[in-house]
Amino acid sequence: MTLELGLFVVLAAVAIAGAISLILARHPIRSALSLIVVMVALAGLYLLQGADFIAAVQVIVYAGAIMVLFVFVIMLLNAGEEERTSWSRMAHYAGIPLAIYLTVQFAWWVADGASALGLPTAPAESESTRRLAHLLFREFVLPFELTAILILVAILGTVVLGRRES
């Protein structure tokens, strides 16, 4: 059991535990915390695969800003525990086994198909940030500028939506 495999198993176990906790938790703040745990575990997995910059961006942007937004909204709306209605109980008894079967089958197909892939050809490169920046600002400069406009539109939309009707 190499160190890399050991780290993978630990991080994967944490990610799956977080995802299951997201589904099973009754209070939305616990779900939010579980999702943050999943994101940090995924950042660790990105690091394990040599994607340093993406791991940092995942923690700074996704876990550190987007999830803060979620936590704020949950706190502001004072979301309480989920209620169990008759519809939701029926859905649970009938649907959960089927959904679990579908997930396991999907994972099985992926594992089956992906086992044909060999190990990665080249080792994880260093200086990946510099090469990533070259890619981002040359081949992908148009999508980059478009996402800037997208964020501007999102800001405007949020401000308009958040205005109180007077």
Binding site: L22, V38, L42, L77, E82, W87, T103, A114, L135, V153
Partner: protein, 100 residues
């Protein structure tokens, strides 16, 4: 060396768990978080394939997915706040009328 099929299986499991959360949870914010979980699972698949074929543009796609998820989360949460204000509930089963 960890085979990429392990990462892809993990990605599939997380995606499946996200779908389960989306279908079975009642709180609208938790639904949204399940969507984010699905996006994260897809990001993991992108990074895995980017390493598999030494194609750095996979990481660029992850970058864009994160940015778009940020914009989507902002607008989506603003809509959720409006929804909570107008319907006084966060339970999707009770938000079933187009007009109050």
């Amino acid at each position: 060396m960890v085979s990429p099929s392990y990462y892809l299986t993990l990605s599939a499991i997380l995606f499946g768990l996200g779908v389960i959360g989306f279908l079975f949870k009642r709180n609208v914010i938790t639904l949204f978080m399940s969507i984010e979980l699905m996006l994260n699972a897809v990001n993991l698949a992108f990074v895995t394939f980017s390493r598999q074929w030494s194609e750095l543009s996979g990481q660029v796609y992850v970058f864009f997915v994160i940015i778009v998820a940020a914009a989507e989360a902002a607008v989506g949460l603003a809509i959720i706040i409006l929804l909570a204000r107008n319907r006084q509930t966060l339970n999707v089963e009770r938000i079933n009328l187009l007009k109050l």
